[in-house]
Each structure stands twice: as structure tokens, then as C-alpha cells.
Symmetry: C2
Amino acid sequence: MALLDLLGRRWCLRILWELRDEPLTSRELRTACDEASPTVLQARLTELREAGFVELGEGGGYGLTPFGRELRETFMPLHRFAERWRSKSGARV
Amino acid sequence: MALLDLLGRRWCLRILWELRDEPLTSRELRTACDEASPTVLQARLTELREAGFVELGEGGGYGLTPFGRELRETFMPLHRFAERWRSKSGARV
DNA sequence: TCCGTTGCTACAATTATTGTAGCATCACGC
DNA sequence: GCGTGATGCTACAATAATTGTAGCAACGGA
């Protein structure tokens, strides 16, 4: 599962998640990601672009490729699970 | 999505993935995870146990909790996606 | 031209991860 | 009881990743 290796990098899942609805500029993405340092974000974005999940639109701003949208679909159940996890397991933070 | 923060730590997804079928001992898990250092694995296992996804069975060996199995179910589509990703996008490594 | 934005990078400080070695504990065979 | 091999887990230094801050060049209005 090389995919797990890519996704298991810091901010990687989060980036895909934040781009779920609409493209974001690098600055917006940074804001959405708790002000994570641009160094990592840029690194992750490059990796995600090379993987074909994210692209930089002509008008600027990062968005999901069709392939990235497929991946996002895979994650939606995770979202619903996260909700239950938070309430059920008295999750901290 | 605090869940993404937890899952987005190195080896975290991989660990959950490797435990998908049956419980593994810490040594087996290490082997399954490309000989990752026991330091990280132990750290991740502790986090995953605190989160309620993984537990240490009485007879030894780490396994998924019922809650962890739910999470695993969420991941199965990811597996199928990974297959297509590898072939489609000429993914490296 | 000046201002604000874009994507992106440099660099030092801090964390996390790696790799190797080893601990205490328990079960088994002898 | 005594070794043997397994278990979960930890120490520690070396290395790699991440953070935080500052700033770059390029483009688009006003």
C-alpha cells in the first residue's frame, strides 16, 4: 500500500479534506490547516500533485483532480465515522 | 477533524491496515511494517489504544477493537482505490 | 507606480523518526 | 530449577521531518 505511505504524511489527509468542497488558494489552505507552515504544505502539495490528486488551476488555487475527487469520495465515510468517534469514545481535544 | 490528525501520523494508517485481518504481535507488526523502528510503532500503538481503535489481547498480540474494525471498514474502499491508482496513474514505487 | 495578492522558497530551531541495542517478563522443554 | 525463545516495551544517539518566521518574484487592479 504505497498509497498509505503517501497519505500517512503529516497534513496530507487534512489537505485533501480541506479541498473537499472547492479549490483553495495556498493562503486559504494554510488558514484552513491551522496555519501550518508553508514549507510542509508546499511539500505535501507537490507530492499530491505528482500523485495526480491535486492540481493548480489556471486561475490560481488548488483543487482536486477527477482522480482526487474519487479519493475524496473514499473518505466521506471516514467523516461520518469521525463524528461517531468523537461522541462515543469521549475523544480528547 | 481531529481524527485526520491522529491518522495522519506516520505508520498510523499502515498499522491499522496490517491489523485488518488478524491480531499481530508487536514483532509481527514490525515485520509487516517494513521493519519500522519499535519506537514509533510503540508510540503509534499507544495513541491508537488511547483512541480506542486497537487493543492488546490477553493472549498477547495487538488487534482491532470493535470500533477499530468499524474504522477499518471505512478503509476498504481505499484499498480498491489504491489498486486503480497504481495502474492508472503510473504511480512510482 | 503602488498595493495587495498569488505561489513558492530560505533558514535556523524544534520535533519526530530511525536504527540498534537491550530490559523485564512469561511460557516452554528439559 | 535452568536455559531458550518469545512477548511488550524502552534508551539513546544519529538522522530526517516539521515548524515558524521572513521574504522572494510575478501578476492584477487602482
